[in-house]
């Protein structure tokens, strides 16, 4: 009963956000350019995070995020109400990231953001890992950050996209299916396979 109430309120929030997005889009389409600033402020951090985890490089991620906003701004007149704004924006950004990764397949280097240790939840798993590696929490988190990045970048772009959108960005299967233009079943299957691959890559660190 409590779970049902929580999911209802989350859905209400999503609907309210989508309505607000559409209102902003309509204002931009009517010529109020300042309304686009609200959309940028609403999505820039989440979109940047998705791009950063896709390419593993903060400079490229910032560039791709800006690129996605610019493209969205340029073609906002063609935006129709049959999709939500964020789905449309994410699709633009992921297309850009995919072509960027294809172009720079040979040249990939990581430049990582800072790890906010205070924001990291105190979990039983982390406690066990600290004890096993005989190190302090900060060092473990930094090492874990590098290992996770390496493991994520061993995944194919499709599997990486599913994992990032679901586990890091917190999108539902249905939302990911809409963004990537696939079915929910395909998203579930990709997630399952991707997590198996990550488990293999991180085996040495976790056991």
């Amino acid at each position: 009963m409590v779970e049902s109430a929580a999911s209802t309120s989350a859905a209400d929030i999503v609907i309210a956000e989508e309505d607000s997005d559409l209102a902003c889009v309509e204002r931009v389409q009517a010529g109020d350019v300042a309304a686009f600033d609200q959309l940028v402020r609403r999505y820039r951090e989440r979109l940047y995070s998705v791009m950063y985890n896709m390419v593993g490089n903060r400079e490229d991620a910032a560039d791709l995020t800006q690129d996605a906003f610019i493209r969205a701004f340029r073609s906002i007149r063609r935006f129709r109400r049959n999709a939500s704004f964020y789905t449309w924006l994410y699709r633009i950004a992921l297309n850009r990231a995919t072509s960027h990764l294809r172009r720079h397949r040979a040249r990939q280097f990581f430049s990582l953001d800072n790890f906010d240790e205070e924001a990291a939840p105190a979990s039983e798993l982390l406690g066990r890992l600290v004890a096993r590696h005989k190190t302090d929490r900060a060092t473990l988190l930094r090492e874990l950050q590098e290992k996770l990045n390496e493991a994520i970048h061993k995944l194919s772009v499709k599997h990486r996209t599913a994992v990032i959108l679901h586990e890091i960005d917190g999108r539902s299967h249905a939302e990911i299916a809409r963004i990537t233009g696939t079915t929910e079943g395909t998203v579930r299957s990709r997630l399952h396979y991707a997590k198996q691959q990550l488990q293999v890559s991180l085996q040495g660190f976790l056991d």
């Binding site: 940047y48 701004f73 586990e167 917190g170 997590k195």
Partner: protein, 184 residues
């Protein structure tokens, strides 16, 4: 976000992946980001005209350029063209042997020349245009006189290099059999 198919191992992976939500860019990052984005948006708005605008610019450029081009062509025709012609007429240097009053119907004048002779005309004669085809207009050779009636036309074309014409005529006259008639 937990899927019913997830094993405990996959739950551990999900838990670790959620740690990536704690990665943050440096404090000044969003200020730089907004500034760069604004600059790029303005650049796009200013520099990139639409396809229709580009076509209009090309059309407008052509319309403005047409009178200028026409004027330039007229000026070229009036002033530079005659000057060029004068230079071309004055071009051939006086020859060692000047054949005064070379006539189109005087076969001896041509047949007497040796290959390599340098000939210059004192005054190039205009080519007569008549309704009747000029003798030898079909580049034929008269078997008796070995006259080469094509010389006038050739001379008109090669005013600037008569040496070449005389050599060609001479070679033709000596190499073609008397009975041969060549039609082109």
């Amino acid at each position: 976000m937990k899927s019913p198919n997830d094993s405990p191992d996959q739950d551990r992976i999900s838990e670790l992946l959620k740690l990536k939500r704690c990665e943050r860019p440096d404090p000044g990052f969003w200020q730089r980001f907004d500034h760069d984005l604004q600059r790029r948006l303005i650049q796009q708005a200013v520099i990139r005209p639409t396809v229709g605008e580009r076509l209009w610019l090309v059309y407008r450029g052509l319309v403005h350029a047409a009178p200028v081009t026409a004027c330039a062509m007229i000026i070229t025709g009036l002033f530079i063209g005659p000057a060029f012609q004068t230079v071309r007429q004055d071009g051939p240097t006086p020859a060692h042997v000047a054949v005064e009053g070379l006539s189109e119907t005087d076969p001896a004048a041509v047949s007497g020349l040796e290959a390599g002779d340098q000939i210059a005309l004192a005054a190039p004669e205009p080519v007569a245009v008549t309704s009747e085809p000029a003798p030898g207009a079909e580049l034929g050779f008269d078997s008796d006189s070995r006259e080469i009636p094509a010389r006038l036309e050739m001379r008109a074309v090669y005013r600037g290099n008569f040496t070449f014409v005389s050599e060609t005529l001479d070679n033709l006259a000596s190499s073609v059999p008397a009975s041969a008639v060549i039609n082109y």
